[in-house]
Structure formats: structure tokens, C-alpha cells
């Protein structure tokens, strides 16, 4: 019994790290998307707002991904091994995006005073911010979709491409991209310093919020009957979906009535609930269709020790993290 418990707890830690990564790091990618799409008379101010919001926090936000990877390979080594073997291609594309996004951001911020260079790095930053969540979504989609083979004895295409190049995974990728963009736009309404820019972000938040709903429908539509059934089968599925939907409606309504603080809270809770809904639907699998959490997990004593270390680390770190956001947040992003 305890065995299952610690594996479950560790998986919960993993999902929490991913949640923080989505809420914080995800919004940083979303900021890049809006940099790419900046239009209209406030375009420059939009870009400046985005850069100001991301600057002090993106490196800390990025560490949530590292934590997730580390917990995955220490706690569920077989899952890490399977994911990184079969999803090598999209993961390399994720990495490429991560490298270019981070470097281009600092190159633009510190490196150049020449406007032409600054524009170039701004472009690279924006494009890499857009491709990365797309491929991250594809990876998550493929883990959920359950087409990962159990061995590598087949043609390259069948083993290393087909499992992730599916309508389902691609629509999850698109969903992730728009979801992060939506989150970023909502946060940015609070970061903007003038009402024109704020209005621009409000408009973007409303539109992308709508697209999130449409894409959610598409994801469900292309998921195929078996997967859809499994995704909806857990007793938690319905309440979570209802709660996520309620958050979404609250967020959009709050945006409409320009209550941006409520909108931020509701959008964050919407994203959180979507992720948790996915995680619970995935349970008890680590990687569908072959690998359950229990089968992928490290030995029991390792899991216990890992949980202890993570708990102590969290107690030490959370106060500093809160301080960072308190100091630079829009007033608390």
C-alpha cells in the first residue's frame, strides 16, 4: 500500500511542478507569442510591457521544468527513458526553442543597442516562444495518446515519428500554445502601464480565451472514441471539467467587465484544473499504453528520500520565490 502511496505522492509533486511551469513559464512563452503578434499603435508598448514582465522572473520560472525533469528521472526512470527514446524528435525541437528563446531574450535585453539587431533578436525570441509550447504540447499529447511502441524493432517512421505526429498530439500542441497565450494576455492586462495597452491585451485575452474553448472541443473531437472514453472515465473527470469550465466563464466575464484581478485568478485556476484533469485522466499510467506509474517508479526508499528532500527544499525556497514575485509582480504576478 505504502508503495503505491509514495509513487502517487511523487507523481503529484511532478504534476505540481508542471502546473507551476504552465502558470509561470507558460505565460512567459505566451508573452513571446504576443510579441510576435504585436500590432497596432501600441505595438511597441506591448513589447516593452512583455519584456518588463518577463525579465526578472523567467529564469526562475524556467527552473520548474528542470525540477519536473529531475523528479521524472529520479522517481520514474522508466518513464523518462521511454519518453526520451520515442519522443526524441519533438523533444529536440523543444530544446532548440528553449535555447533560442532564452538566449535571444537576453541578447535583446542587454546585448545590443543597434535597433536592427534588437529587432532580429526580438523576432528570434518571439518565434522560439511560439514553437516551444507547440512541441511541448505535442509531447504531452503523445504521452496521453498511447501510441508509443513497446520496442524499437520497426521502421524509423513507425517508431520515432508516427507516435507523435498525430492529429491528436498536434491539436494538443495548438491548445497548449493558445492556452499559454491566453494566460499571458490576462496577466499582461495587469502589467500594462497605460489604458491603451491594457485594452489591447484585454482584447487579445478575450479572443484567445474563445479560441481555447474551440481548441478544447477539437482536441476532444480528434481524440478518437477509446481515448475519449478513458479521458472521461475517471470519477473526477466530470467535476473537474465543470470546474474548469466555470473558471473559464468567470475569467471571460471578469475580462469583459475589466476586473483584471479576478480574471487573473480565474484564468490561473482554469489552467490548473485543465492540467489536473489531464493528470487524473492519465492515472494510473505514466506513459500510455504500456507503462503505469507503479511499473515506472524507482525503488521505495529512493522515493521516500526524494519526497523528504523535495519537502525540505520547498520550505526553504517558497518564501524567496514569493518575495521575488512580490517585488516585481504586477503587483504580484
Amino acid at each position: 500500500m505504502r508503495v503505491a502511496d509514495t509513487a502517487f505522492l511523487l507523481a503529484a509533486v511532478l504534476v505540481m511542478s508542471l502546473t507551476f511551469y504552465a502558470l509561470l513559464g507558460g505565460a512567459d512563452y505566451g508573452g513571446g507569442l504576443w510579441d510576435l503578434l504585436a500590432r497596432g499603435p501600441t505595438a511597441d508598448r506591448q513589447r516593452a510591457t512583455i519584456a518588463r514582465a518577463i525579465g526578472p522572473v523567467w529564469e526562475a520560472n524556467h527552473v520548474w521544468l528542470i525540477i519536473a525533469v529531475v523528479v521524472l528521472f529520479s522517481g520514474f526512470p522508466r518513464a523518462f527513458s521511454a519518453i526520451s527514446t520515442f519522443l526524441h524528435v519533438p523533444l529536440v525541437l523543444v530544446l532548440l526553442g528553449i535555447v533560442l528563446r532564452g538566449s535571444a531574450f537576453v541578447f535583446r535585453a542587454y546585448g545590443s543597442e543597434e535597433p536592427r539587431q534588437e529587432r532580429f533578436w526580438g523576432r528570434v525570441f518571439a518565434i522560439a516562444s511560439t514553437t516551444t509550447p507547440l512541441f511541448l504540447g505535442v509531447v504531452v499529447g503523445a504521452i496521453t495518446d498511447g501510441r508509443l511502441p513497446s520496442s524499437t524493432d520497426a521502421r524509423f517512421i513507425d517508431v520515432f515519428v508516427r507516435p507523435w505526429l498525430t492529429m491528436f498530439s498536434i491539436s494538443v500542441g495548438a491548445f497548449a500554445l493558445v492556452l499559454f497565450g491566453y494566460l499571458a494576455a490576462v496577466y499582461l492586462t495587469l502589467e500594462a502601464r497605460d489604458s491603451e495597452t491594457r485594452t489591447a491585451f484585454r482584447q487579445r485575452a478575450l479572443i484567445s480565451g474563445g479560441v481555447v474553448g474551440i481548441l478544447a472541443g477539437i482536441v476532444l473531437l480528434v481524440s478518437g472514441p477509446t481515448l475519449r472514453e478513458e479521458l472521461l472515465a475517471s470519477p473526477w473527470a466530470i467535476p473537474l471539467h465543470v470546474a474548469a469550465g466555470a473558471s473559464a466563464i468567470t475569467a471571460l466575464a471578469a475580462l469583459w467587465w475589466k476586473n483584471y484581478r479576478v480574471a487573473r485568478l480565474a484564468a490561473a485556476s482554469q489552467v490548473t484544473l485543465i492540467l489536473w484533469g489531464w493528470a487524473l485522466a492519465q492515472y494510473p499510467y505514466a506513459v500510455r499504453p504500456h507503462l503505469t506509474l507503479a511499473a515506472a517508479a524507482a525503488p521505495e526508499p529512493v522515493r521516500v528520500l526524494l519526497l523528504q528532500v523535495l519537502a525540505v527544499g520547498a520550505v526553504v525556497l517558497l518564501p524567496s520565490l514569493l518575495f521575488l514575485f512580490g517585488l516585481f509582480g504586477p503587483r504580484g504576478r
Binding site: E59, V63, V70, L305, L306, F328
Partner: protein, 435 residues
């Protein structure tokens, strides 16, 4: 073939990351020293120094963070079998490293963007935490690497690890020596490099107070570490002698098993004829250094099966390069002390020139040292437990990701060098017009 590309990609990524990682470890320390000096003396040069150093560091830091992320994924992308085996055993230092990253990233944000919003000493505290986070990252990740050299904390039963004890794995026999050696290497290499850069500007105007202060701080961080480095290298070599005889034999180009084994300076080992030519030999030196007894017996490669030899020539040459640089940097430290004693530290042109020439040597030694450690362990990925060839991913076509990352890293290197050059040229004394 794919194995080769995987190894090259790993080596490339690590060799790239380590440069930025050591800068991330040592620069914050130097910035803290400069900032404390500013608060104590009120001299504006110190403040200027901190600001300019922090601009460069911000760029280098970000590249360190993203290249490190690549590494964490590559462990799985390239070596899934290794990670499946080793993940639970050495996950502990990697998890602790994760917290060190948080510490570093959080306080870096506060440090870089908090000039106005934090009080003076709170800002220094943020800098101290960044330096601490960097040091801890380095310490933890090197314990993971030293475990690959001297695996501990588990028993093998039917090819599976059992009784896994992550704490014992972290405290493996090579951990202490490697951690100390790596930390010193970081401070020595970065300190010497920064001093070299400012020495170049002092050669133009040795009275410039800005570059004098920068030079002094960099030497203060770099040279004491450079003095200690040969001692800690000796410790590392003793651990290698005790735990990895094939690596030791390769380091020294030692083919025959003998007592009174010599230390070889220079020389080219020839694995086919099984001898090391053109070396200056000091009889009994190796036996003495490795075991503290000139008559101790040193195992040569001839008594190790050929298929378990590391690439002897490359390892020996890399080792010679590292040791030569180590001795040279320690000598520079001695020279600096004498000059300082005589009050000529900033005006001796010979010394300034020597520092300029040495600017990149610490980094060369770091790369050479890692080649010694990693190539010297071949064909094992985990010494005596798992072969590198058995750990590689089954994915074919690894030449493509390798080519991709090579292009990206070369591009990044070019841009970073250009940008750092610019910020350094900006460090021309304020009176001097820009550029």
C-alpha cells in the same frame, strides 16, 4: 556510428555548458566583493565595476541556464539506458541541484533588477545567494559525475541495482576530490580570465583606477585557487590511482606494470607499440605521487585487457596540458605576490603581458580536465558497471541532432563573444569616450 555522434553531442554540450557554468559560479563572487568594497569605501569605480560585470554576467548566465537544460534532457535523449539505471541512484544530487538552480535564479532576478528596490545590503545579500547557488549547483552535479567514476550506494543482482542508497551514492569515493578540484578550477579560470582582460586595458593606461580595482579583485579570487589547484589535483590523482587503474595508466602513458614508475613530462603514447616516446621521465615520481612511496607498484595498460583501454593518447595529452597550465597559473600567483609586496602589481608590464597571454588558459585546463575524466573512463559510462555502447539510445540518425546542436552552439558562441567584447570595450574608463 550513432554511438560516436551521441558521444560527440554529449561532449560538445558539456564542453559548452561548463564554460558558462563556471562563470556563473565565480562572477557573482567577484561582483559581491566589488559591491562590498563600494559600500565600504564609497568609491564610484567599484559601483561602475559591479554594474558592468553584471551586464556581461546576465548574458552568460542565461546561456548557462539554457545549455544546462539541454543537458538534463540529453541524459535521456542520448543515454536512456544509463538514466533508467542511474536515475534513482544519482537523482538525489540532481534534485538538490534543482533547488540550487532555484536559489540562483530567484536571487539573480532580485540582483539584476533590484538595484532600486532593494536596500544596499539586501542587494549584497542577493548577490551572496547567487554565488552560493552557483557553487552548490557545481558541487551537486560533480558528485553525480564522480559517481560515474566510482559508483557506490547499490549492489548489482542479476544486472539490476538493489539496496539503492542515494546518500551513499552521493558520498562516493571520488566525490570529495573532484568537487574541491572543480570548485577551485571555476574560481581560478574565471579569476585569471577577468584579470587577463583588465590587464590588457591596464597595459594601455596602468594608472586607470577602474581597471586597477577590477584587476585586483579578479586576482584575489583567481590566484589563491590557482595555488591550491595542483594540491587538489594531486588528491584527485591519488583517488584515480586507488579506484581507476586504467585511467591512471592512460593519464601517465604507463604501459608496463612496474615499481619505481616514473612521472612523464610530455611524451606521446603509442598504443600500438605500447610505449610512450619523447617524454622527460622522473624515476619513481609516479609511484611516489600516486601512493606516497617511490617503490610502489603501478599497474600498466599491458595488464589491462585491450578492449578496456581508454583512448590513451588523447587522455595523456589532455592531462599534460592541464598539469602544465596548473603549474603555470600557480607560478603566476607566486609572481603576483612578489610584485604586490614590492608595490608593482599594476605597473610591471611583463606581468601584465603574462596575464594577457594567460586569459583563456584556465578554461583550456577545464576542458582538458574533463576530457581526462570522461575519456579516461571509457569504455565505461559507469566505471565497471555499464558500458557506454550499451547505454546509447536506439534512435538512428543521431548525426542530425548532433549537427543541429553544433551549429546552434557555434552560432551562440560567436554572438556571445561579440556581445561580451562590446560590454568590455564599454568598460573603457568613463573619461575615455565610448568605443
Amino acid at each position: 556510428m550513432d554511438l560516436l555522434y551521441a558521444r560527440w553531442q554529449m561532449g560538445l554540450s558539456l564542453g559548452f555548458h561548463i564554460v558558462f557554468a563556471v562563470i556563473g559560479m565565480a562572477m557573482p563572487l567577484m561582483m559581491v566583493v566589488a559591491e562590498v568594497a563600494w559600500l565600504r569605501t564609497g568609491r564610484s569605480e567599484y559601483r561602475e565595476l559591479v554594474k558592468r560585470w553584471s551586464t556581461g554576467t546576465a548574458i552568460l548566465f542565461a546561456v548557462g541556464a539554457v545549455s544546462g537544460t539541454v543537458l538534463s534532457f540529453e541524459l535521456g535523449l542520448l543515454w536512456p539506458t544509463f538514466m533508467e539505471f542511474a536515475g534513482p541512484i544519482i537523482g538525489m544530487p540532481f534534485s538538490l541541484e534543482g533547488f540550487a538552480f532555484f536559489l540562483e535564479a530567484i536571487f539573480l532576478g532580485l540582483y539584476l533588477y533590484g538595484w532600486q528596490r532593494l536596500g544596499a545590503w539586501a542587494h549584497v545579500f542577493a548577490g551572496v545567494m547567487v554565488a552560493l547557488g552557483g557553487a552548490l549547483s557545481g558541487i551537486f552535479v560533480v558528485t553525480a559525475n564522480s559517481w560515474m567514476n566510482t559508483p557506490a550506494g547499490f549492489r548489482m543482482v542479476n544486472g539490476e541495482p538493489v539496496d539503492v542508497d542515494p546518500i551513499a551514492a552521493m558520498l562516493n569515493p571520488a566525490a570529495g576530490a573532484q568537487v574541491v578540484h572543480m570548485m577551485l578550477a571555476a574560481y581560478a579560470a574565471v579569476g585569471v580570465a577577468v584579470a587577463g582582460i583588465h590587464a590588457r586595458l591596464l597595459l594601455r593606461d596602468s594608472r586607470d583606477p577602474f581597471h586597477r580595482r577590477a584587476f585586483a579583485i579578479a586576482l584575489l579570487v583567481g590566484l589563491p585557487s590557482a595555488v591550491l589547484q595542483p594540491l587538489s589535483g594531486d588528491w584527485a590523482a591519488r583517488v584515480v590511482a586507488r579506484t581507476q587503474p586504467a585511467k591512471l595508466a592512460a593519464l601517465e602513458g604507463q604501459f608496463v606494470t612496474e615499481t619505481h614508475a616514473p612521472v612523464r613530462l610530455g611524451g606521446v603514447p603509442d598504443p600500438d607499440s605500447r610505449e610512450t616516446r619523447y617524454a622527460l621521465e622522473i624515476p619513481g615520481g609516479l609511484s611516489f605521487l600516486a601512493y606516497g612511496d617511490p617503490s610502489a607498484r603501478v599497474v600498466g595498460l599491458n595488464d589491462i585487457p585491450r578492449d578496456l583501454w581508454p583512448p590513451v593518447t588523447a587522455v595523456h595529452l589532455a592531462f599534460q596540458i592541464m598539469v602544465a597550465i596548473g603549474v603555470w597559473l600557480a607560478a603566476l600567483a607566486g609572481w603576483a605576490t612578489i610584485l604586490w609586496w614590492r608595490g608593482r602589481l599594476f605597473t610591471s608590464r611583463a606581468f601584465l603581458r603574462a596575464m594577457v597571454v594567460s586569459t583563456t588558459l584556465g578554461f583550456v585546463a577545464i576542458e582538458a580536465g574533463w576530457i581526462v575524466t570522461e575519456l579516461g573512463r571509457q569504455p565505461w559510462i559507469i566505471q565497471g558497471v555499464l558500458k557506454t555502447a550499451d547505454a546509447v539510445t536506439p534512435m538512428p540518425g543521431l548525426v542530425f541532432p548532433f549537427a543541429l546542436f553544433t551549429v546552434v552552439y557555434i552560432g551562440l558562441a560567436v554572438v556571445v563573444v561579440a556581445m561580451i567584447r562590446r560590454t568590455i570595450l564599454d568598460t573603457a574608463p568613463p573619461a575615455d569616450a565610448r568605443g
